[in-house]
């Protein structure tokens, strides 16, 4: 039975407690909405697939020492030969970068040679015909590079590639009608067209920060073996051989040429480690926000239990009177639940406004997206539920107050 008017009348006479509970609910809602939003955003990013088969993949970073920085072509070739001959290796490739590495190349691309502005932004990967197989990308149209299409090039003097392989995201961006295969595009300021000979289902860019969010699946691969002294080797292990390769592969590289530096920190990593490192901040932030949310909800619930218990204690006599006047246990229970619901509704209304305000402020301060209404709604329902749950125990205690309390003097 709802008895809103008299409850409101009673609340008016307990302003402090009412305001305190409403404030707690409002603040919790505002923080929890934004925190859950941050968690969701971060997790969404963490769950993005790279497009590669990430198991059995090893990444090694190497820099030759004492060689001209752009003249390391033969050394890289020797490395690749050594790596591909290793017993546990299925395939290997030397690239400028790979998804989630954190650093790489990016450029604008055009479909019209005379266009002033680029049509899309994309990352550039450079690798030979082993790139697709090593990364285990899913080719959904066209073909892989042939070995005769691969050119060796100084990173400071890159040729315009005749053929390229692009990710589906980039292909769709450049040719929205889905006709990208066989068409051409212009990389950077180039006046020479590059023909799209293959489209892979997905290939993520090397970055995972907010700045690359707008083009995180726009990638193209150029059939180029860079001659730079700094190289990233991607190695696909035969099933079950990855653990051995973590030691064997860098050893083979050092054996091939010891005048090199493989950094002791993050120089040799399985792709699982690459992924973990790349998303450490995102996951940590999600965990932090999650913990904050839980503790916050716990504290708010405890606060409601505390204040409601106090109210019940303060009103034992009047509960007894109500019982004497014919209130059933359920009436008393619903009185306190309704009371909390009313306070809760006031709290969530303020809280929703606060949440949106807080989000708008965060948007101006940080690269954050707008809060969607769904989060606020979920938060509203959750907090009203929390309030009811927290009120239940003290309200049950209230309903057990005997009507005989009415005859007792204080």
């Amino acid at each position: 039975m709802l008895q809103i008017k008299p409850i409101l009348a009673a609340l008016k006479r307990h302003k402090a407690g009412t305001i305190l509970i409403a404030m707690q609910i409002a603040l919790t809602l505002a923080i929890v909405c934004n925190a859950i939003f941050i968690i969701h955003q971060r997790l969404e990013r963490v769950q993005r697939p790279t497009g590669m088969v990430e198991s059995d993949l090893l990444a090694i970073q190497s820099r030759f020492v004492g060689t001209q920085e752009t003249q390391a072509g033969p050394l890289v070739k020797a490395d690749l030969v050594a790596l591909r001959q290793l017993p546990g290796v299925q395939d290997a490739v030397a690239m400028n970068s790979y998804p989630l590495r954190g650093g790489g190349w990016s450029t604008g691309v055009r479909t019209d040679v005379d266009a002033k502005n680029s049509k899309a932004h994309t990352t550039q990967y450079f690798g030979d015909e082993h790139a697709l197989g090593t990364m285990a990308l899913k080719l959904i149209a066209g073909r892989n590079f042939r070995s005769d299409e691969i050119v060796e090039a100084d990173p400071q003097a890159l040729p315009d590639p005749a053929v390229i392989i692009v990710s589906k995201a980039l292909a769709d961006k450049m040719y929205p009608d889905g006709s990208a295969l066989g068409k051409t595009m212009y990389i950077g300021d180039s006046k020479t067209p590059s023909t799209i000979i293959g489209i892979v289902e997905r290939l993520q860019v090397p970055w995972n920060g907010t700045w690359s969010d707008s083009f995180y699946e726009n990638s193209l691969i150029q059939p180029v073996q860079l001659t730079s002294a700094f190289t990233n080797y991607l190695i696909r292990a035969k099933p079950g051989q990855l653990a051995d390769l973590v030691k064997a592969a860098p050893a083979a590289l050092v054996k091939t040429n010891r005048m090199r530096v493989i950094p002791s920190e993050r120089g040799v990593r399985t792709f699982a480690e690459v992924r973990e490192y790349a998303y450490k901040g995102d996951r940590g932030m999600a965990i932090l926000m999650g913990v904050v949310c839980l503790v916050l909800l716990g504290i708010t619930a405890a606060g409601i239990v505390g204040l409601t218990s106090f109210w019940v204690g303060q009103r034992r006599k009047q509960i007894g009177v109500r019982r004497a006047l014919g209130a059933t246990k359920r009436d008393i229970l619903s009185y306190f639940l309704t009371e909390n619901l009313l306070i809760g509704v006031a709290g969530v209304v303020i809280g929703a406004l606060l949440a949106v305000g807080m989000n708008l402020w965060l948007v101006t301060q940080f690269e954050m997206a707008r809060l969607s209404v769904t989060y606020v709604l979920i938060g509203v329902v959750a907090l009203l539920g929390l309030g009811q749950g927290a009120t239940l125990a003290p309200a049950m205690r209230a309903s057990r107050v005997s009507p005989v309390e009415a005859t007792r003097s204080v």
Partner: protein, 240 residues
């Protein structure tokens, strides 16, 4: 209307059993105004709480308006309290958070009555006790006598068959007490059954019938000279 036979109420602690009421027998007829007297601790308040279904009893039988109440569950008891019984407490027991109107409304709310009917009954009851103009006041803004009249209005609003009053004038000065007493008498004349617990012999004398409780049992008044003396003394002192 109210009939208790061989009723007993035992309070048990770990060490002792205390009989608050023992082989208690009483019969109150419809339309009677009965005053229950007795020294402190005699069990008169226990009697009232059991009569009002505020508490359960240990043994015996209690028929209220022809219904044996010992087997009723909590909800059924609440319903009877709400519909058949009106309470008037010594300490008024108005709810301080609610104004006069809302206080009188409380039992009607629990009866699930529609708003227009509630309002009519509340205003009638308040007019009856002469406080219709104070409907928006809070209890703290009223004198003790006024508060008790609000409590009576609350008891009357539901048109109960039985009115239970526990020392209704105990917290009031003589002047106010007289007003409250006159109100009760008027209500009685209009046909309500009233059972009033009091330790004041003068008040008791104004009832139709007196029941005296000592040590949890009803005693025959005619056989207790102490009581007659007290009544005489009270009448002698009273200017009325």
């Amino acid at each position: 209307m109210l009939k208790m036979t061989h009723l007993s109420k035992v309070y048990r602690t770990e060490v002792v059993e205390t009989y608050a009421l023992r082989d208690f027998n009483i019969n109150v007829n419809e339309g009677e105004f009965v005053a229950v007297t007795g020294p402190s601790g005699s069990g008169k308040t226990t009697f009232l709480t059991i009569a009002g279904l505020l508490e359960t009893f240990t043994g015996g039988q209690y028929h209220l308006d022809g219904v044996e109440v010992s087997n009723l569950n909590d909800n059924e008891r609440s319903k009877i309290r709400n519909e058949k019984i009106g309470f008037i407490f010594q300490a008024f027991n108005l709810i301080p958070d609610l104004n006069v109107f809302d206080n009188v409304e409380v039992p009607l709310r629990y009866r699930g009555m529609k708003a227009p009917e509630r309002k009519e009954r509340i205003m009638n009851a308040l007019e009856r006790v002469g406080l219709a103009s104070r409907a928006k006041h809070y209890p703290a803004e009223l004198s003790g006598g006024q508060q008790q009249r609000v409590a009576i209005a609350r008891a009357l609003a539901g048109s109960p068959r039985l009115l239970l009053a526990d020392e209704p004038t105990g917290n009031l000065d003589t002047q106010m007490a007289r007003g409250v007493m006159e109100l009760l008498e008027e209500i009685h004349r209009e046909g309500a059954t009233i059972v009033m617990v009091t330790h004041d012999p003068e008040l008791a004398a104004r009832a139709q019938r007196n029941v005296h409780i000592i040590d949890g049992q009803v005693v025959d008044l005619a056989e207790d000279p102490r009581f007659h003396q007290a009544v005489h003394a009270a009448r002698a002192n009273s200017p009325a």
